[in-house]
């Protein structure tokens, strides 16, 4: 039986998460785009409306910036892992009682608010939490091998298959002696069987 209650005083399920920003990246990105289109449409207006244009431009730039920040938090947050051991992407970590993700998200938002560029922000996290904070290997040093190998295997595989196909095609067809002669009986049945196999899946 369920018991109707107001927000419970004895919180069974206290989350360690404090206040979080509402983050809905696709919609804010759309807003930024539509603002840019609006800006392009305003380029041929008269001088009288110059003040309005400046104000509008300022508003657009501000909105664009806000959208960018939200998108950047979203992008960077998906390029890092939560380091609590839950093995989840930072922005997707919903690990109950996680001691890290809330703090890390706060630090990410603060870095983006400060205007740190992506590299600086990520470096800051690597210095603080170690290399395992990055969700994918960097493209430097030995880590490059991680990215190169799959493509290398694909290229090698394609080359091998092509060579095999060529070798097979150039292999001479060995005809049994008297193959041109008419075949009968069991031999004919054998060829019929092969023909049936060739035309089936």
């Amino acid at each position: 039986m369920g018991i109707e209650a107001n927000v419970p005083a004895n919180s069974l399920f206290l989350s360690s998460r404090a206040k979080r920003r509402t983050c809905s990246s696709p919609s804010s990105r759309e807003a930024a785009d539509s603002s840019s289109f609006a800006l392009l449409g305003m380029t041929r207006i008269s001088f009288k409306r110059g003040t309005q244009l400046i104000l509008l431009t300022l508003a657009v730039v501000t909105l664009l910036g806000a959208g960018d920040e939200s998108a950047r938090v979203n992008d960077l947050g998906h390029r890092m892992m939560c380091v609590c051991g839950c093995n989840q992407i930072l922005l997707e970590c919903n690990h109950v009682g996680c001691a890290y993700s809330e703090r890390m998200r706060g630090e990410l938002i603060a870095a983006v608010d400060r205007g740190d560029n992506d590299d600086l922000t990520l470096q800051g996290f690597v210095q603080k939490y170690g290399t395992t904070v990055m969700a994918a290997p960097t493209k430097t040093g030995f880590n490059r091998v991680a990215w190169i190998m799959p493509y290398l295997v694909l290229v090698l595989g394609l080359t091998m298959v092509t060579l095999i196909v060529r070798a097979w095609r150039s292999r001479p067809l060995v005809l049994p002696a008297g193959a041109v002669a008419a075949v009968h009986g069991a031999e004919l049945e054998h060829f019929r069987d092969q023909a049936r196999k060739d035309t089936e899946i």
Binding site: M1, G2, E4, A5, N6, V7, P8, S11, L12, F13, L14, S15, S16, A18, K19, R20, T22, C23, S24, S25, P26, R79, M81, G85, N87, Q88, I89, E92, C93, N94, V96, G130, T131, T132, V133, M134, A135, A136, P137, F142, N143, A146, W147, M149, P150, V153, L154, G157, L158, V161, V165, W168, R169, L173, R196, K197, D198, T199, E200, I201
Partner: protein, 672 residues
């Protein structure tokens, strides 16, 4: 209880060891008594099933009787655990799941040993190989991971309970499905190795194992996607696949198994790729064992893995023995695997299978490489790196797109060679349909040039349409011809067509299921999420939906206490449903878990998670995900299951026609 279980395991080991040794001797020593010795080995193998089954029953009964003197029951059950989960205790921990492995293996062995009359000698070899694998698992159960170990000291009043994440209905069926897949690959492996050892003439062993392989593949497919659905419904992060090492472990044998199912047709029909197929099935089995090793050794960190233990060394040794055995017999008997035919044209079914295999193996290598790279990195540069979703998505998505393209083109190619004109004729309309779909999507607002993920999404949908149209055209073309001769309507004709060659048309249905799943994946590019503290009457808008918090409710039962939100959902100003995202606090394990509230429609999932309360404001935090097209993934899985079942149905008996008439007859449903 524990003594009965331990004794059963010991007896099971003795029976399997006897089955292996006596079976081996009977095959090696060709004396007058070898037949009788072989028969005793077969019967010992059959008896091993009964004994391992007894051990499993003892463990389940112990769980139901709350016998906490057994350490495994203490750690994975408690008095108030509901009955289905008590049953699931069998596979919820390290030792129990190994017992479950051994049980399924002995069950597969039982079926194989009962059907030995199909080919006595081949089955005898396969039975010995299966007995060897059984011996390994029973050694493990007796000496490294005994599920019947007893508690030391005073008897505890209650158990620790089952992990809350596992207390979900799907967890009662997901592991058995996955294990049926993993373990099932032992059978085709055993037949392949047996055929190699005895230089088995012809391809009969492939025909014998075809059903085993397909059934196993079907189980593994179900297991993988049930796991994805469980992750989506329980973990509450809004996704279904996180490229976790345990997920990867199940994907790798699936990829090589899929490659085997395709390339084995080349061996059956053309006597080609014999060495390749042999190693493909060897690799699939070894990857199944490797996956079991990954989840149990603690070599990679994973959210799903069992506790770290020393049994990893056992698996490494076992893998080394398997590899050495396979390599030895391959080197010894490789002359037996020479190809009977040559490839005649690059534009042929054979070459499409070659490229299909290449892409599937590259995908498998990528998954393996990404899973193990953290270990390699630590070894080489002293620091561990993380290889997560950004890596896997970036590398595997282009490979998957190429595979989709091959899925569209492959069925249009005939064996041996296909003329360009024929390819053009069959490919033209599906290609136009795919292009028009792309144009339509761009006109509707999809912008592939904005971001590579949008480009991938568009390509996925276009290629899926291409595959769908080629599959449909194959059915319609064949159905029309049958309809002309029989006078049946198109649907009845298509059913008859499928019945004439169930393997081929069942395969097409599986392909159709795959593209439905791919469309579901393509929708993930448009996922949105929003998180907000919500008190009474607070609103949150996401996409076309507005959620209004109505109230919060609590409940309590002996197993867990729960708290859930009552959220009214509005669309276009009209209330469409009420959702109840929930959090549970499990008393025995003292752990919390989420129960997602999901309104799933073909268009999108409205996925609501109750994340807890902000300790500062006391307000509940609600996270909402709007995930387009997810339902299609689950629909696609059902289609794949249907296709697999169709492919397993025997073909309708061929119609006998006199030879001259046969020469004139158009081959419908049995050829290209």
């Amino acid at each position: 209880m524990s003594q009965i279980g331990s004794f059963a395991l010991l007896l099971g080991l003795a029976l399997c060891a006897y089955s292996f040794l006596a079976g081996l001797l009977a095959l090696v020593i060709k004396g007058p008594g070898s037949g009788r010795l072989g028969e005793t080995a077969r019967r010992a193998g059959i008896a091993s099933f009964a004994i391992v089954f007894l051990a499993a029953v003892v463990l389940v009964v112990a769980a139901f009787q709350n016998d906490f003197s057994i350490a495994y029951i203490f750690h994975h059950s408690n008095r108030d655990l509901p009955a289905p989960y008590k049953f699931a205790t069998l596979w919820s921990g390290q030792e129990g799941s190994l017992l479950f492995w051994a049980l399924l293996l002995s069950a597969y062995g039982l079926v194989l040993r009962l059907r030995y009359k199909t080919d006595v000698r081949l089955f005898a070899y396969a039975s010995v190989i299966i007995a060897a694998v059984q011996v390994f698992f029973l050694l493990l159960l007796n000496f490294a991971a005994n599920p019947f170990g007893v508690m030391q000291g005073s008897l505890p009043a209650d158990g620790n309970g089952l992990n809350p994440l596992l207390q979900y209905p799907e967890m009662v069926i997901h592991p058995p499905m996955l294990y049926l897949g993993y373990v099932g690959f032992t059978v085709p492996f055993a037949f392949a190795l047996a055929a190699l050892i005895m230089r088995y003439p012809g391809e009969k062993w492939i025909q014998i194992t075809r059903r085993w392989t397909m059934v196993t593949w079907g189980f593994l497919t179900c297991g993988v996607f049930l796991g994805a659905h469980w992750a989506y419904s329980v973990l509450g992060w809004g996704g279904y696949w996180g490229w976790d090492p345990v997920e990867n472990a199940s994907l790798m044998p699936w990829l090589t198994g899929t490659a085997f199912l395709h390339s084995v047709m080349m061996q059956e029909k053309r006597g080609m790729l014999k060495t390749w197929n042999m190693w493909l099935i060897f690799s699939t089995f070894m990857l199944s064992i490797f996956g079991t090793f990954l989840t149990r050794s603690g070599v990679v960190s994973s959210v799903h893995a069992f506790a770290q233990s020393s049994i990893g060394d056992w698996f490494v040794a076992f893998l080394a023995i398997i590899f050495a055995t396979c390599l030895f017999f391959y080197v010894k008997n490789r002359s037996h695997l020479r190809s009977e035919h040559k490839l005649e044209s690059l534009i042929s079914r054979e070459s499409s299978f070659l490229f299909n295999n290449l892409l599937l193996l590259v995908a498998c290598f990528t998954v393996l490489w990404g899973t193990l790279f953290p270990v390699l990195s630590e070894w080489v540069q002293g620091t561990k790196v993380t290889v997560g979703p950004p890596f896997f998505n970036r590398v595997n998505v282009p490979v998957a797109l190429l595979l989709l393209l091959l899925t569209a083109v492959g069925p249009l190619l005939a064996w041996r060679r296909t003329s360009i004109e024929s390819l053009k004729r069959n490919f033209l309309w599906p290609a136009i349909g795919a292009l028009l779909t792309g144009v339509l999507l761009v006109a509707l607002g999809m912008r592939p040039w904005k971001d590579v993920s949008y480009f991938y999404s568009l390509m996925t949908i276009m290629l899926s349409v291409l595959v769908a149209l080629t599959v449909i055209s194959e059915f319609v073309r064949g159905g029309r011809v049958i309809g002309r001769h029989s006078g049946q309507n198109l649907f009845a004709s298509m059913v008859q067509l499928a019945h004439r060659n169930t393997r081929r048309y069942g395969g097409y249905i599986v392909h159709f299921g795959v593209i439905v799943i791919m469309i579901g994946f393509a929708g993930s590019v448009f996922n949105q999420d929003k998180e907000q503290e919500m008190g009474f009457g607070d609103k949150m808008t996401i996409g076309p939906y507005t959620l209004v918090c109505q109230s919060y409710t609590q409940d309590d039962n002996p197993n867990y206490g729960s708290e859930w939100a009552v959220m009214n959902v509005f669309k276009g100003g009209k209330q469409i449903t009420t959702l109840n995202p929930e959090r549970r606090f499990y008393k025995a394990s003292q752990q919390t878990s989420t129960m997602v509230a999901n309104r799933s429609t073909p268009q999108e999932d409205l996925y609501v998670v109750y994340e807890g309360q902000n300790p500062e404001t006391g307000k509940p935090i609600i996270k909402v995900h709007l995930n387009p097209l997810v339902m299609w993934i689950w629909i696609g899985v059902w289609i794949i299951i249907a296709g697999t079942v169709v492919a397993l149905i025997p073909n309708a008996a061929p119609v006998r026609v006199p030879a001259p008439a046969r020469m004139r007859a158009e081959p419908v449903g049995v050829g290209d």
